[in-house]
Structure formats: structure tokens, C-alpha cells
Amino acid sequence: MSALPPLHLAVALDGAGWHPAAWREPAARPGELFTARHWAGLVAEAERGLLDFVTIEDSLGPQSSHPTEPDDRTDQVRGRLDAVLVAARVAPLTRNIGLVPTAVVTHTEPFHLSKAIATLDYVSTGRAGLRIQVTPRPNEAAHFGRRTIPALGAEDVGDAEEWDTPAARELVDRLFGEARDYVEVVRRLWDSWEDDAEIRDAATERFIDRGKLHYIDFEGPHFSVKGPSITPRPPQGQPVVTALAHQSVPYRLVGGSADIGYITPYDNDQARAAVAEIRAAQDAAGRVSEPLHIFGDLVVFLDGDRAAAEDRKARLDGLAGEVWSSDAQVFTGTPAELADLLLERREAGLSGFRLRPGVIGHDLEGITRGLVPELRRRDAFRHAYEADTLRGLLGLARPANRYTAV
């Protein structure tokens, strides 16, 4: 049916699901959200569906229904475990699926994050990735107390994708500029040990060949980092760096720094426009020869017939007290209808999708047991894992080390 290569599929895990009332569905077990068992079960289900990877949301403050300010709602899930630790906790329990925690770069140390993701790559034997996120929230800056972030008004923020006043643009430029430097540091640190640096040479009594360890000597406006990492180069060499992007500045981050970008088009035209911008940014960054996946993000409510999915969404909206929408398109329908949509949307230049289950306890299985077989029938999804590293699943070769002399 399709001459294109199979789709890549990821699932985005967050709390009980992406709908704010998801935790009230009978299938949700909201009392278990902070247990290892909860996360192990979800990732095992995603792996049974042979998905490429899971992402795990995170934040340096409580969830909020407001784009830049905290709220005091008590009717929604509040609280998150550290996503890198969640990924590490499930790594030894899985074999093939990629593990992509979210990390906020705005208030954290690139040195720590680099070794954390390198270590995630070790404990998962080559299945680690990373989703870079910035935070414009002043209240989260106050949790760290090292910098202030200006409070933007509604006119600055507009819809979630806009951020198009001078104050908003200045903040976005600053945060994403820092993110670009951050990824550069993280990547240099991963390469700061050559693969064969550990020699255990009894004759010279040396454990390492220090000529194969490298200072990264990064200096930028936000931080300077000397290196080398304390952690040897991870199994994949470079774990997979990903980022969600809604507009030009983050598109440039994806084009210049990421292996996967997630975009949020509502139709093929929007998808084509975003893909074009990212490809241009990739070109401008001199990365044309490097593979860069662009995935579409969708929130999904999946049921055996469309009416059931719509009813379920409407019922949750009723519980939430709003007709809930998201930055990404919200799909309600059958797995077959979703398969149709994905195969049509890919024509805009997407190589995969990151699906956000509306209700994890329901829609994750809708993906793994409904959508996946449906895509297979159309020769558009794998029947078995073809690799045991995340780069392998994504068709990314193990990269050469930037510091290795050729």
C-alpha cells in the first residue's frame, strides 16, 4: 500500500494521560502514579506494541492549567517524579524500547544531565534519548533563585504557539539560545571520551590513554564547561536528542541540534510548512547530511467506533469543566481512522509520530493493540524489533566521535 519506509511510533507518557480529567477514568489508577509499578507497566505495554520509544514528561514545578503561572487547582494531577530516574528505573525491566525522559535545561547543569543520559544509555544498553525543554515560568525560576524570568502577560503569550510580542520574543530567543548551547555541551561531553580510551595496559600501568580524553572547553554567555565528562562515552556514542517545537525559534533548535523534532500541525499544510522551516534550519546549520526525523504529535482518544471515542472525550471534558484542547491536534476515533490520518499526514514529510494518550489506562492499549496491528496490515509498522538500540530503531548510525583524529 505504501512504498514509504515503516512509520516510527513513540508514545508520550504523563501522569494518567494528557486529558486533565484522565485520572478520573475507571481505567486510571490515580493512587499509583508515583510508584515504580505504574511506570514499569506502561513501558512494558509500549514495548509489547514494539513502539520505538516512550517519552516521559517532567517539569521543575507543579503542572498548571495556565501557560506561565501556577494555579491552585486540586481537581487535576499535580506532582511528577524526575523523568530521568523513572526512565532508569524501568530500563533493566525492558530490552528494546527507547527511553526518552524530558529534561528542563533552563535551571539545570549540562554537566549533570550529560552524564545522567550517558548513564541511562549504560543501564539500558543503548536505548537512551533525551527531550530538551525550556521553561518560561517565573515561578519555576523562583524555585532555583539564581535568575529571574520576566512575567509575561496574556498579550505576550496569546495562543500557546504565538509568543509574538517583543518581550515574548526576547525571552524565547534567550531560552532557546541557552538550550542550543546546552545541547552542544551535552553532546561534546558524550564525545569527550573516545571509545577506546580505556586500555588497561599492564605494561605501562595505565588504565586509560589520556590522549583519548578531551577537554571540551565550552564557553558561552550562560555557562562555561571544561570537561571531560566523568562518564565514558555511552554505548550509542550519542544518545538521541529530541525537542518539541511550535514556532521558528524552536524549529531552529531542532534543525541545528536535534535528532528528532516533534511538531504539532493540525493539517498537512501546516506540517509541510513546519517541515520546510526545520529543513532550512538544518541546511543553515550545515547538517544536511545528518539524519533528522520530524515526528507529528497528536493527542489520541481511541475506541472501537468514533462515537464512543467522541463520547469519552466529551465525558472527560464535562468532568474537567471545559472543552479541552491541546497544542497538538486532538484525534478522536478508531485505530483504523487514526492509521488513515497518520499515513496521510506523513506525506507532508514526517517519518513518525509521537502519540499522547488522552487516557493512558485506555488509549495506550488503543495504540499498542489497535493502531499498531492496523498499521501492520498496511505494511507501515514493524513486526519485530530490528535493533536493540534506540539509534538502531531510528535508522541512525552510531556516529563518529568529533574528537577522534581521522
Binding site: L33, G79, P92, H112, R206, I208, S224, V225, P228
Partner: protein, 467 residues
């Protein structure tokens, strides 16, 4: 089965103390022997999993990970004679939580190059993900050398090290306590997820940290992780007495151990704390053999592996504060005196600071080498790093028990010299003897690390007044 079949009390009639044991993953220093054919990977997860499973099989209290945030250098170059490279502490501990069920997971985390909100999130998350087994060895750092890897950069004056550490820990405790543990109702029918809209609220205004907002990890099973402290200075001891649950100390002999134990425990009353609210656990190395004589031979062979010729020269350079690479390790000690200036030869390691009077140390070493006809290498082997416990399993079990019953320690953090199997023999031969003596658990009786260590679970703060 009875914990205590025959010997329920010591000769003095006092009940026998139960020994606490921990397993220190072999570190990036010359205690760890990488040249042994049995030495495996120091970075692959399989090594950590093997080590942790051995410790859990032996019913140890916890596994312990050290940390260093910059590769060590000597003479301006990365130090290449010891094991180099280690994982991220939190990440590997979270993964180990998946391959163990009861073993405590202790991570060394620096209070200088981190921020309380993030570290508290990580420990609270680890506590959730391990079912209540997280512990934090709070260390401080002072060097701009390590700071070059971090946003914060620069130098922290010596006198601020403990004040920052103290305030860091106090702030983290405020974050841990910002959730009482009963806020999540998650009532699907009524739609109440949180019964308190202010769950996680905190405000800390201090010299080092000025932060406020809401903490976003609910209270973990232990309330707070178990807190370890490792410094030996006056400030460090006071910090431990005021704020720690356990001390990772260096005093592994009867006399030094008893003195330290009495000193630190004596400080507790000042903070309104009871004698058993702070455990003293020295680091200890060991060499086992079928007989004491065989163990002594093995101990010597291990020492020779730990102190190669080049390692001996490098070690001497710490004291001399000079490049001694021209000296023969099998020859006599240098005639020249140490450079008394600021020690710049070695960076990124703590031991340099142990030589406060290098001229006196050099004099003493020269005299000993002359008297006993020791080469540089032999002198270093003799004066440094001798194993704490050497002998047959029975001898070692006896020695450990004696030290604990004599209040030189509450237990030991064992540092094997081999990765990953260096604990196996101890687990198989010494632990059963301690169990027979009735001084070490045969099964875990609790699920959390606080349970294993006999520490209370901190009570949450009283409910907030309605605002």
C-alpha cells in the same frame, strides 16, 4: 528462626549490638585493582547489578556510591594509573532499584554544584521508585577546579563549605517536608485529586538560598532520605551531630574508632538527639583467606597491585608537591625536601589535604625507610592503605564484631578491591558467621532503609492552618 540463638548478650550483660553492613562500589582510586584478571567493567550496568545483588543476598543494609565531579589530575594531566570513569549517581541507583528489593541505595551528592530543588526532587523520586530505600551522603566541595564544569563555577571559601552544606540540607528538608504525605486523595468520584491546594508550598530565605514556590514531588515512603555525612573536621562532626542519620567515617581501628564514636555521639545531646539516632559506619577494606596466614599473603599481594611503582611515585608527589618522575620506585626516598608552598601537584582528590605538614611527613618517612631498608614503593605500601580486616572468615567476623560491641563503630561500609565480584567471598563466608554470632540479620525485617538502620521515619509537619 531466632536472630540470636546462643549469645543474646555480651559478657558485660549488655544486649549485643546488631551490626550494620554496607557495600561501597569500588572507587576511582588505587584501592580498586583493575589489573587483576578477575576485574570487570567499572561502568557497565551488569557490574553494578552483580555488586548490588551480592549485597542484597548477604542482607546488607545498603549499597554506597561515591562521586567526583571532575577527573583527577596530577602534574597538569589527567591521572591515568587508577580506574577512571563512573556513572551518574542518581541514574544508576534508580536502575539498581529495579534489580533489588530491599537493599538501601546511598548516593554521594555534592551540595556545592547542585541546587536544593533539583536534588530534593531526585532523592524524593528515588525514594518513591525504590519503595523507601534512598539515602544521601551530603558532601561539600571547595575547589574552583571542579567548579570549571558547572554554571556556578568558582571557589567556595573554606569557611562557607559547611554553612552552604548545612543550609542546602536544611532547605532540602523543607522541600521534603512540604508534602505531609496525605494530600493525594485521588477520589475519582468527587474529582478531588489533592485535598490541599497548598501541597508542596515552601519558602526559604537564607544566606545561600533564597527560593520559594511549590515542590512537585509528593512525600516519599521514608519521608526524607537517610542522611549521611562524611567529613571528619570539627565542622563536619558538628554538622553530623546536628543533621545526619549516619556518618561515613575513616576510623576503622579500636582506639581511633572509640574516640571518634564517643566524640560524635557526645555531641548529640546538644541537639536534643538520642544516642542511637546517629550511626557511625567507618569505611573498611578487607583481605580474606582460608587461614590467617594465607589472608596475610593475599593482603600483601593486593597491596602490591594497588601500589605499582608509578603509583608509588605519584603518591609521593602528593607529599613532596614536586615532580618526582625521575626517581626509581625501587630506590630510596628523595633527598630533597617537599615544596612547602600551596599544593598544586594533584587536583580533584581529597587525600592531598591530609598532609598538613609535609616536611614532617617526609622526615618521618625517610627515617622509617632508612631504618627498615624500604624502597619508595615498599614505604608507600607499608604506610598507606593497609586493609582494615585481614584473616580467615572467622578472624574477620570476630574483629568486626569486637569493634562494634566495643563502640568503635555501629557497622562498616566495606570497600572491596575488585569489581564486580569483590564482595562475593565476604558475603559467602563472613556474613554467615556474623549471623551465627547473632549480631547480623538473617532476613530483612523491614522494607525501607530506615527500617534496616533502626531509624525513625520522620513525622510530617502538623497540618497547615487554613489560610
Amino acid at each position: 528462626m531466632s536472630e540470636n540463638p546462643t549469645t543474646g548478650a555480651s559478657a558485660t550483660g549488655r544486649p549485643l549490638k546488631q551490626i550494620h553492613l554496607a557495600a561501597h562500589f569500588p572507587g576511582v582510586n588505587n584501592t580498586t585493582v583493575w589489573s587483576d584478571p578477575r576485574a570487570g567493567s567499572h561502568i557497565d550496568f551488569s557490574s553494578f547489578a552483580h555488586f548490588a545483588r551480592t549485597a542484597e543476598r548477604a542482607k546488607f543494609d545498603f549499597l554506597f556510591l561515591a562521586e567526583g565531579l571532575r577527573l583527577r589530575e596530577q602534574g597538569g594531566q589527567i591521572y591515568d594509573l587508577d580506574v577512571v570513569g563512573r556513572p551518574d549517581t542518581f541514574t544508576v541507583l534508580a536502575a539498581l532499584a529495579a534489580v533489588t528489593e530491599r537493599l538501601g541505595l546511598t548516593g554521594t551528592i555534592n551540595s556545592t554544584f547542585n541546587e536544593p530543588y533539583e536534588v530534593a526532587r531526585q532523592f524524593a523520586s528515588l525514594d518513591h521508585l525504590s519503595g523507601g530505600r534512598a539515602a544521601w551522603n551530603v558532601v561539600t566541595s571547595w575547589d574552583a577546579f571542579t567548579g570549571e564544569n558547572f554554571r556556578r563555577g568558582g571557589f567556595l571559601p573554606q569557611e562557607q563549605r559547611y554553612s552552604r552544606a548545612q543550609e542546602f540540607l536544611a532547605t532540602a528538608n523543607e522541600l521534603f517536608d512540604s508534602w505531609r504525605g496525605d494530600e493525594i486523595v485521588a477520589d475519582q468520584g468527587s474529582g478531588v485529586f489533592l485535598k490541599d491546594a497548598r501541597a508542596g508550598e515552601f519558602a526559604h530565605r537564607g544566606e545561600h538560598f533564597d527560593i520559594a514556590g511549590r515542590f512537585n514531588v509528593p512525600r516519599g515512603p521514608q519521608g526524607r532520605p537517610v542522611i549521611f555525612q562524611a567529613g571528619d573536621s570539627e565542622d563536619g562532626r558538628e554538622f553530623a551531630a546536628s543533621s545526619a542519620d549516619a556518618i561515613f567515617s575513616r576510623h576503622d581501628t579500636l582506639e581511633a574508632g572509640r574516640e571518634f564514636y564517643a566524640d560524635v555521639k557526645g555531641r548529640l545531646a546538644r541537639y536534643g538527639r538520642a544516642h542511637d539516632e546517629l550511626l557511625i559506619m567507618p569505611a573498611a577494606t578487607f583481605a580474606l583467606g582460608d587461614t590467617d596466614a594465607e589472608a596475610r599473603e593475599i593482603a600483601h599481594e593486593v597491596r602490591r597491585s594497588q601500589v605499582s611503582g608509578r603509583t608509588a611515585i605519584k603518591y609521593l608527589e602528593h607529599v613532596w608537591n614536586r615532580d618526582l618522575s625521575g626517581y626509581d620506585p625501587d630506590g630510596p626516598l628523595p633527598d630533597i625536601d617537599p615544596d612547602p608552598g600551596e599544593n598544586t601537584i594533584a587536583r580533584g582528590r581529597a587525600s592531598v589535604r591530609m598532609f598538613r605538614d609535609p616536611l614532617a611527613v617526609a622526615k618521618q618517612w625517610r627515617e622509617r625507610a632508612a631504618a627498615e631498608k624500604l624502597s619508595i614503593r615498599e614505604l608507600v605500601i607499608e604506610t598507606t592503605g593497609r586493609q582494615s580486616f585481614i584473616g580467615s572468615p572467622a578472624t574477620v567476623a570476630e574483629a568486626i564484631d569486637t569493634l562494634v560491641q566495643a563502640d568503635a563503630a555501629d557497622g562498616f561500609i566495606l570497600v572491596p578491591h575488585l569489581t564486580p565480584g569483590g564482595l562475593d567471598e565476604f558475603a559467602d563466608t563472613v556474613v554467615p558467621l556474623l549471623q551465627e554470632r547473632g549480631v547480623f540479620r538473617r532476613e530483612y525485617t523491614g522494607t525501607t532503609l530506615r527500617d534496616h538502620l533502626g531509624l525513625a521515619h520522620p513525622e510530617p509537619e502538623p497540618p497547615r492552618a487554613a489560610s
